[in-house]
Symmetry: C2
Subunit: 453 residues, 2 copies
């Protein structure tokens, strides 16, 4: 019943709250996360209305193929195949970008901002690559741009960093931010399976894509680190500034040796504030078994933050998946809806600390760390002496050394020499490894894993 | 220099941003946390201004004794000893209540709200007891009432529940929310010390008050649970509705037996949504060693949340202390300051889901749990049979039973009989324990610890 109809029925006195205010939402993309958003808005409608004082109403959903069968339970009259039209359509208050990718998503978000729509996005690649442009555009148009779902799915890490720790000075973050990699490192730590076997299991169970490169190679984690580092250190981060190594070269023996030395191997995304600038790196790391990060299971994510006033804090949960990601998207819709209701959109500074000088990214060569080095060498007298001599010549000091027969090598022709170093400079370690490779001692490439501290 | 002075110097063109907007803050109380707030506002001033687009300026601090030496580095001209005057003074935009206690704090906060001030408080007892009245008053006056520091110090758990998970339906929370109790359970788990020895250490190191009752008895945790449950379940909670047990009766042998069975004893604050209502309880619990909560060390806090869409998530960090608590207070000041700048105060619904029916609190007798029961009995034939018969008669089924000589009992006159039960109804367990006590078998009161699942 419309307002006019009601007015006839209640002719005297003010008509207050006769219908709850509606906020129009346009979904760009209706895949898994989109279907989750539709479901959550439907199932939790009553609670959401109570928290927001308004109704979130999906007024349209842009899809690529109108004829395709879909998981989302949505009235087909709401579907359209022109995302640009929907992104700028009247009646849409919040544009929810779930289309993925970089270029089209960028155009759509810029168009939505230009049409004075608020934007919620779950697109980490978009923000990692075009964030600066989008934040600036949203700021100058006075609209909201929220992106909780873009990093670590359902974990409210963006809010924690941007609001919860707004008064603090963040010194470092270390995150398990890629569920596929964590699933694989957890399975490898159990022992008994090769990387290829574990990856096949992950693919079969839907935890890894058919092309898993972006996940296991560290690229996905780098996208997330770029966004987190912007928030933590108030600096613009180019993806190319992040040192990235994947987990694909790690072997069973590395996981076994880690366990033996009191560590667990995890793929970490790290940002560290130093006097000279910030370190930005994604790589496998030996994490002490006593750390909470060491216990993050299966596909879960966690971000460990060290800050000046709070000290250590950690945020743990599901970093991906239809419903966890949709949950973050809808929580953003609620907050943006609240801002709309209060006429307060655009009040969240997107480029925090933008007046601070741009922070330099410290070159990887300048990193100081403890290292785990595994050399594959022939089982010949004198080899160990040559190895350790070269390390010493490059100022890499050894804390612990062991020699192990490689699993599966029944003839004992090659051995694994594992060295744990004292703190050393990355460039010294790298030049030592080059010299060792040049000395003709190696039967296979050397494995380097940094030890987290 | 004031605006008029500047105008003379720059007579042509608009005068824009010639001075950053100031937000006046009044501190009620200037103890440890107050000193931390002063320090953080000073040290992080530049970053805070960038994030807020305004300056947070302390315009006054009310203290009990003007002559007392204080930790806070604050101009003595800002001090006053009339908190009510400061709470309602012109020029104060945000009143920061750090005075503690219930009655005076309540009066001050209500007066501040009445005078149209925004309020930030770190006072859990105030909110647990008078929350309903204060939220209602703030809502009807359209002012902000923020309280991140009131629960778990520096952990942004209020934001996580209120905003991060705003779209989700929370099924349960289990929190380590009292640092003193966690310090004691961690130390007891190491073995070799009695409760009294560990408590004395905690007091010597400043982790426990001279009168530790509120911490180790569970009362402090109950205050926090009342606030968390309101947010999680959208229901008003009376402190008396919460079942509270402390950790003071747990003995060394309980910690040792826990370890032997794969558990760690923690004091948990739990809220669980059931079909019939919600469970609200604070008590020691056997936590499986594989849980992240089992690894929460020393005085740290953590809240483990299970929700419909996100699944499990956890928030970990410093639950108390000068700087962590001050950090939450200042983060609230920033957010309230942002709301002030956007003319959007009062837009955060304080009594979420208030239109939902009040949820019933499930009586403790109706709890279903697995139990650890330790009986202290004489080492006589037939005792075990009598014990297990009575348990069986009360429908308490035993999963595991062991008999141990009590440590320090050199003559072996008394033994500890430890039973782990299958799932049982609390009222059955309690009536079984009563019957056992009545049967004259016991040399000491029986220890009951619920097993978390």
């Amino acid at each position: 019943m419309d307002g006019r109809g009601r007015a006839l029925l209640v002719p005297h006195g003010p008509i207050v709250n006769y219908r709850m205010r509606e906020i129009g939402v346009g979904l760009l993309g209706l895949g898994n996360v989109g279907a989750g958003v539709v479901r959550l808005l439907e199932e939790n409608a009553k609670a959401i209305e109570a928290r927001l004082g308004a109704k979130l109403v999906i007024r349209g959903a842009a899809v690529r193929d109108l004829g395709k069968e879909r998981r989302a339970e949505i009235d087909s009259s709401l579907l359209c195949d022109d995302p640009m039209e929907l992104a700028t359509r009247e009646g849409i208050d919040i544009v929810c970008e779930l289309i993925g990718g970089e270029e089209l998503a960028r155009e759509l978000v810029l168009a939505a901002i230009g049409a004075n729509k608020q934007v919620v996005t779950a697109n980490k690649a978009l923000l990692a690559v075009h964030g600066e442009e989008l934040y600036a555009s949203a700021e100058s148009n006075g609209v909201d741009l929220y992106y909780e779902a873009a990093v670590c799915g359902g974990i409210p890490i963006i809010r924690a960093l941007r609001e919860g720790l707004a008064s603090d000075r963040i010194e470092s973050i270390a995150g398990i931010v890629n569920g596929t990699s964590n699933f694989i490192t957890c399975a490898m730590a159990q022992g008994g399976q090769s990387f290829e076997e574990v990856l096949a299991t992950a693919q079969a169970e839907g935890y890894a894509e058919a092309d898993p490169t972006l996940d296991i190679g560290g690229g996905d984690a780098a996208h997330k680190l770029a966004i987190l580092a912007m928030l933590c250190f108030g600096t613009r981060v180019e993806l190319d500034d992040i040192h990235v190594e994947g987990i694909e070269t790690l072997a069973e023996i590395d996981y076994a040796m880690a366990k033996q030395h009191g560590y667990v191997i995890k793929s970490l995304a790290m940002g560290v504030r130093r006097e000279m600038g910030i370190e930005l790196r994604v790589h496998p790391a030996m994490v002490p078994q006593s750390w909470l990060l060491a216990d993050v299971p299966d596909t879960k994510n966690a971000v460990y933050v060290r800050s000046y006033a709070l000290g250590p804090s950690m945020y743990y949960g599901a970093g991906a998946g239809m419903m966890p990601t949709a949950m973050s998207v809808v929580s953003d819709l609620i907050e943006v809806g609240r801002n709309l209701g209060a006429n307060a959109t655009g009040s969240m500074p997107l480029r925090i600390q933008r007046d601070l000088p741009a922070t330099a990214v410290i070159p990887m060569a300048q990193l100081r760390s403890h290292y785990y080095l595994r050399f594959t060498v022939a089982d010949l007298p004198g080899t160990l002496g040559k190895l350790t001599t070269i390390l010493g010549q490059h100022q890499v000091s050894i804390a612990n050394l062991s020699q192990t027969v490689m699993p599966g090598d029944d003839e004992h022709e090659q051995v694994a020499v594992v060295a744990r170093t004292h703190e050393a400079l990355e460039e010294h370690v790298q030049s030592a490894l080059q010299a060792i490779a040049g000395a003709g001692l190696l039967l296979a490439p050397t494995q380097l894993i940094r030890i987290a501290s």
